[in-house]
């Protein structure tokens, strides 16, 4: 090779290297190309908790479609890759596949608490931006990691405080019964509730554990009837809570106040209990309930029904709502991260959130959730809980019953 061709080759190599260096930041982080950003999600889409995972998928996909239809994020489209699972091992495998094989940029947990608990250590270790839609278990929040964010459903200790406030909303009871399923979500809430009840010097006369999916509630109800509590707290899903209340009168449980975990305040509950459900109170995660005559809620419901034209009954549900808002929060963080999103600058972008709403992306987005804020030591976006009461067979948000909690810079 003569000097002239050596010079040309060197020049070409330098030019190529320069081009590569210019282009490098755009594709340096996995899951980001010049045209799209891959977001991973996982949850159950078959099996008994499919109403959580499938709704999480649909809510996030609705948000992704809206975002893409309105120009995407900084010129890139979002793409949701959703992995199915059903058991803790499957959820963990789904998280690994998304990160290692699909090479997603960020992970959204749509499985609820069980899947989050299973995948938390892996995602924490990988330092990939992770956002949990509806996760309460402490194992997700502790030990603290700056990449693990949480949206609608807060840490179990705040849910426990929220339920305790409902328990005392009729006045301080003397005697309380607690029925809890074996699901991680409900157990962690119940664990947070017990010391609060004891600290308030309220007698906790019954603590009954039931199987998730149980329908014959004779045993816990006989124990409750014997204890004669003023308030019965049900840390259970709609079906279990509904059948306890439905079967209560024939087991001699009458005249008690019922308090439900937020996961039970769904449209599945009212048809099970019928008139017996009137006055039942539950914690709730949003300022609105379905069918409310509120602009933002109507905007969301209209968009959801347009996207999923033949929905099954009881949809959209709270998981659709949470997923929609969570994907919007992820999109805001990506937008704030700029043209070259990296894991670090997206985490920093989340930490800059102060009362962020979906409409930061545009007026087309529906503000159905409370505004979210994070900080360097605060990974909990939502910091308020609401209460709903069943009136004439419909859940209604109780005015003035909002509970704003102080995350305190940590989880």
């Amino acid at each position: 090779m003569n000097a002239r061709s050596l010079w040309r080759t060197g020049l070409a190599a330098t030019a190529l290297a320069s081009l590569t260096m210019v282009a490098a930041p755009a594709s340096a982080q996995q899951g980001v190309s010049a045209t799209e950003i891959k977001i991973g999600g996982f949850g159950a889409i078959t099996g008994p908790i499919a109403f959580i995972g499938a709704a999480s998928r649909d809510g996030m996909q609705l948000a992704v479609d809206q975002i893409n239809a309105n120009g995407g994020i900084n010129g890139r489209k979002l793409r949701l890759i959703y992995e199915a699972g059903g058991t803790p091992a499957e959820f963990q495998a789904a998280a690994r596949k998304l990160v290692e094989q699909d090479q997603v940029f960020a992970v959204m947990i749509g499985s609820g608490s069980t899947g989050a608990a299973a995948a938390a250590d892996y995602l924490r270790e990988k330092k990939i931006p992770t956002y949990a839609l509806t996760v309460a278990v402490p194992k997700y929040y502790d030990p603290f990691a700056p990449n693990m964010f949480s949206g609608t459903v807060p840490h179990a200790k705040f849910l426990a405080e929220s339920m305790f406030r409902i328990t005392t909303s009729w006045g301080t009871p003397k005697n309380v019964a607690l029925v809890v399923t074996r699901l991680a979500y409900h157990k962690s809430v119940a664990d947070g509730l017990k010391p609060k009840i004891e600290a308030a010097k309220i007698q906790l006369s019954v603590v009954e554990e039931i199987d998730s999916g149980a329908r014959d509630m004779t045993a816990p109800l006989v124990a409750i009837a014997k204890a004669k509590p003023d308030v019965v707290i049900l840390a259970a899903d709609a079906a279990e809570a509904g059948f306890i209340i439905k079967q209560a009168p024939e087991k001699g449980v009458r005249g008690v106040k019922w308090v439900l975990a937020g996961s039970a305040a769904t449209d599945a509950f009212a048809p099970i209990v019928g008139k017996l459900g009137e006055g039942v109170r539950s914690e709730w995660f949003f300022p609105y309930y379905f069918g409310e005559d509120k602009v933002e809620m109507q905007k969301f419901e209209k968009a959801w029904k347009a996207a999923y034209t033949s929905p099954p009954p009881q949809r959209p549900n709270l998981y659709d709502m949470s997923a929609y808002n969570s994907m919007m929060m992820m999109a805001v963080a990506l937008k704030r991260a700029g043209q070259t999103p990296t894991w670090d600058n997206v985490v920093t972008a989340f930490q800059s959130f102060r009362n962020v709403r979906a409409s930061e992306l545009g007026s087309w987005a529906a503000d159905i959730s409370s505004p979210e804020s994070f900080g360097p030591k605060d990974i909990q976006g939502n910091d308020r809980m609401y209460q709903v009461e069943l009136k004439n067979g419909k859940w209604v948000v109780r005015p003035g019953a909002e509970y704003v909690f102080d995350v305190g810079g940590g989880s």
């Binding site: 078959t46 008994p48 499919a50 109403f51 499938a54 074996r182 009954e208 554990e209 039931i210 199987d211 999916g213 149980a214 329908r215 014959d216 004779t218 045993a219 816990p220 109800l221 006989v222 124990a223 009837a225 014997k226 899903d237 709609a238 079906a239 509904g242 059948f243 079967q247 009168p249 024939e250 087991k251 001699g252 769904t266 599945a268 048809p271 099970i272 019928g274 099954p312 009954p313 009881q314 949809r315 549900n317």
Partner: protein
């Protein structure tokens, strides 16, 4: 306290009656075709879904649902025998059993696809004031389930044992070749047995819908107790299946109330193992075992 025990007893009888109805359909199919139908829970689930559709979407009265749901589920059951199980009838019994297991899963997921909901609910047949017997309270729904499911279970057993239709199935149960030589059609009897068994499953679904809710999980929630009830009864005994269901319902509730609520599901497996190990012919065997 006695009143606590009575509450437990009534609760046990209510769910035991549903188990009995589920078990009797399982036994009818097994008696006539020697097939252990693990898809029976899925047929019960289907009965509950048909109940929901007829009541809530078509707004039919309950009496019509009690006629239509068993008929429709019986027809689906007969079709499954005709289309899926008949071609593998001469295969190893293991293959037939596996086929029913996967049929169950396929039916369960088939209803989940269009109706992926947490739980569908239907109103009870009777919703009037409960009956007060001293401190004991029995709702009209419980009375109807205990009496109705028990009555239909007995009628199903009588149909099999006494009526001419049941004679062919009993003949097939005794000796297939002999029954053929007597002029009975194997295909006809098999389809009929699956229709009757499926119809009883559909009926169990109608009774289950208000008490257990309508969801794909009803498949597992009913096949396990129906299977255990059938094993307790001896698997080929209709009378045994009815008593097995009632015994299981009561024992589940007694264990949950007096030992631990967590034992409720486990007790059925403990009973299953105990019966299989100690008295595999069941508590009420139909045939006589003679030591030779």
């Amino acid at each position: 306290m006695l009143i606590d025990f009575l509450f437990v007893l009534v609760g046990g009888l209510k769910f035991g009656a549903i188990y009995a109805l589920g078990a009797i359909g399982l036994v009818v199919i097994h008696k006539a075709t020697k097939t252990v139908n693990f898809a029976h829970g899925a047929l019960i689930m289907l009965g509950a879904y048909v109940t929901f559709f007829l009541l809530e979407l078509f707004k039919l009265p309950y009496w019509a649902v009690y006629v239509l749901a068993p008929t429709l589920v019986g027809a689906v059951s007969a079709f499954l025998e005709f289309a899926i199980l008949r071609p593998i009838r001469r295969a190893d019994m293991f293959i037939v059993i596996i086929a029913t297991v996967f049929l169950a899963i396929a039916l369960q997921e088939a209803v989940r696809l269009p109706y992926d909901v947490e739980m569908l609910a239907v109103a009870a047949v009777l919703e009037g004031d409960p009956l007060f017997l001293g401190d004991l309270i029995i709702t009209q729904e419980s009375m109807w389930i205990i009496a109705g499911a028990f009555l239909f279970a007995i009628l199903g057993a009588l149909l099999f044992a006494q009526a001419g239709l049941g004679r062919s199935m009993r003949a097939m149960a005794q000796n297939i070749r002999g029954a053929q030589l007597c002029g009975y059609s194997v295909d006809g009897v098999y389809v009929f047995a699956w229709f009757v068994g499926g119809g009883l499953a559909g009926l169990a679904g109608v009774f289950s819908a208000p008490s257990l809710g309508v969801s794909p999980e009803l498949m597992v929630a009913t096949i396990v107790p129906a299977f255990v009830a059938a094993v307790i009864g001896g698997f080929d005994s209709l009378r045994g299946a009815i008593l097995g269901g009632l015994i299981l319902g009561i024992l589940e509730n007694v264990a949950a109330a007096y030992i631990s609520a967590g034992l409720k599901s486990a007790i059925s497996f403990l009973i299953l193992f105990a019966v299989l190990m100690i008295r595999p012919e069941g508590l009420f065997p139909e045939g006589r075992v003679r030591k030779v």
